[in-house]
Amino acid sequence: MAGKIFISIDRLTSTLEKLSAKIDLWIPASLQPDKRELTGFVPYHAGIVPILDRQSTLPPKKILLPQVETLLRFEYRKDPRNPLKGSVSLDDKTEVRPALVFGARPCDAKAFLTLDRVFTNGPYVDPYYLERRRNTLFATLVCRQADEACFCSSVGSGPADTEGSDFRVIPVDGGYVVDALTEKAQSLFNSLGDTPTQHQEAQARQVVEKTSQHRVGDLDLAGSTGAFRKRFEEDDYWQEMAAQCLSCGICTHVCPTCYCFTITDEIKNLHGERLRSWDSCMFYQYSLEASGHNPRPSKLNRYRNRVGHKFSYIPEKYDGLIGCCGCGRCIRSCPVSIDIRQIVGRLKENACESE
């Protein structure tokens, strides 16, 4: 492939600097100076230190699906000749800037495939998400820093997966070999680095091969739809699995494939906005109806729904695609260390036993 360059470690900063002049650049970095372990994707600015040696605490989800965004603005106008009559004007103009996300991991990039199906492949297309998606490129690391909470291989991905990525960033001695994978990626990296030497290319090939063979996560969590349906009504199972849950919502906030949102209007005097903001199925109010009835009144119902959504309903609707990328963030950030791998793994295991 034509677009291969080598960026040395000491030239990384200047390369990122040059890139940020061409396009909005997002990189994983620390979110607080004295808390190096707390990382997320932030807009590049001079002096920032990219943290590429571990998975970020927060995923790059907000780049394509902001936590809050304005869907439309509205303005009321009064007719001075007829004070009872109010008229409204609407405006849904949205600014979308081309962007590059540098330093994401395969799990992060793969997660957007689930969002793509939901937001752009249904009977209705979400133009806000679609426009951002079309204008954002992903330069994804070949990942060699899986930890004990990672399980990308269990959900149909892997540490060298390139699905959803435009560039592959391969760590080699002294720097990175960057491989352009898509047409729209090719043009961006021209003149930003040297052509890799033969040795570097060989090493890159080796790294990719070795990483592709590495299995992250022992379980196989695919094909859980039937097992989930079988255990749906088994209250004891969900009690045992989710009694520790605080219904706090952290898992949904740090999850790259969680996308549920709410729409609320805010008005001041005569003008206002309709906002779209992240919501969480873990919250009581999520499904609370105006009549006061709540189809998921208990945290156990809600946790069951979360597991079902990712491992049963999404695969059912989208040709077996699992609505989980195996990044393990929910496990790491959960205050009570609930392990979703266990919950889904035991669904299948015990379902077999009961037959």
Binding site: K35, T57, E148, L246, C248, I250, H253, S280, L300, S337
Partner: protein
């Protein structure tokens, strides 16, 4: 620690027939953390552990929906509590969320619990194989080898200022009583350090911290005393208090209302700060309010089950005002 765990097993085993459920801590996927366990059968008792990794305050499960209540009115709920957790129990008893005689309390004197995020800050660990505390060291084995860290560098902030390491209420005590790590004059030193800074700096501090807030409401949900959570002002639309925007004003309002609802009630168990995925020192706000309570009204929350928190009652002859 092992002897404490064994003692715990023995006592729980003896008590189990009269218990509907026993709430304690068990090992999780990560040696640096534990997960709560709800025991109903003797065969699960060996999973119970006590160690400095048992950070979570379990008392919330007694009140948050679906609150654990014995189905059989002759049975009780067993629960493990450290010093800080026992104060939460006292607060729940004071406000009549739980009744003392329905609880069987296993109190555990505690010298502090490990904050795994602080460990990660010192050494970026991967594939932790084992972790233990010996004297004043945390010894961790991971893929990179063995690491020895100063215990005081990895304890939760609340533990460094803990003045009630021994449970204030219990039916059985596991292990021996211990001494506090802090002198009474230094209890509010974190708050005082912040108070010394000029107003602009304090404002900048909170703006910077709250900027990271994701409005996940984990702090609210983890707090055993925050009981309006299903009707929380942060989410209700009728009446509407907050927009869904992620601006500092919205987050300030949520955090300060939450803190004010806890004024005079918060027992400083530190759960709010422990659970925060963005590592915001939210407990500082409650500590400040508690400092005012103590200085003005001479009241410390969660010590006397018969006391009434000052803001929940009207005392015509209030001293200190």
């Amino acid at each position: 620690m092992e002897t404490d765990t064994m003692q715990l097993h023995k006592l729980v085993d003896e008590a189990l027939p009269e218990l509907d459920t026993m709430i304690g801590w068990a090992a999780s996927y990560d040696p640096l953390r534990t997960t709560p366990i709800f025991i109903r059968e003797a065969k699960s008792i060996p999973r119970l552990i006590w160690s400095p990794f048992c950070a979570q305050n379990l008392t919330g499960y007694l009140v948050k929906p679906p609150a654990l209540k014995p189905a059989d009115k002759h049975k009780r709920i067993g629960i493990c509590v450290k010093g800080c957790d026992s104060r939460s129990l006292v607060a729940l008893i004071q406000e009549k969320f739980v009744t003392r005689d329905r609880l069987r309390i296993f109190g555990i004197p505690c010298r502090g619990t490990v904050d795994w995020r602080q460990v990660m800050r010192q050494v970026p660990l991967s594939h932790v194989r084992s972790a233990k505390v010996e004297d004043n060291l945390l010894i961790v084995d991971d893929a990179g080898g063995t690491h020895k860290l100063n215990l005081e560098d990895v304890l939760a902030r609340k533990c460094l200022r803990c003045r009630y390491p021994n449970p204030v209420v219990y039916d059985a005590l596991i292990g021996e009583p211990t001494v506090s790590r802090i002198t009474p004059e230094d209890i509010y030193r974190d708050v005082e350090a912040l108070e010394k800074r000029p107003l602009e700096e304090r404002l900048a501090f909170w703006q910077s911290e709250l900027d990271r807030c994701m409005r996940c409401y984990a702090c609210r949900n983890a707090c055993p005393l925050c009981v309006c959570q299903e009707r929380c002002i942060a989410e209700t639309r009728d009446p509407k208090w907050l927009t869904q925007r992620m601006g500092i004003p919205e987050k300030f309002l949520f955090h300060f209302i939450h803190a004010i609802h806890l004024a005079g009630r918060c027992t400083e168990c530190g759960e709010c700060e422990r659970v925060c995925p963005m590592e915001i020192p939210v407990a500082l706000m409650k500590e400040k309010l508690n400092k005012i309570m103590e200085e003005m009204l001479g009241y410390v929350a969660g010590l006397d089950p018969t006391a009434i928190p000052p803001l929940l009652t009207f005392n015509p002859s209030e001293t200190g005002i």
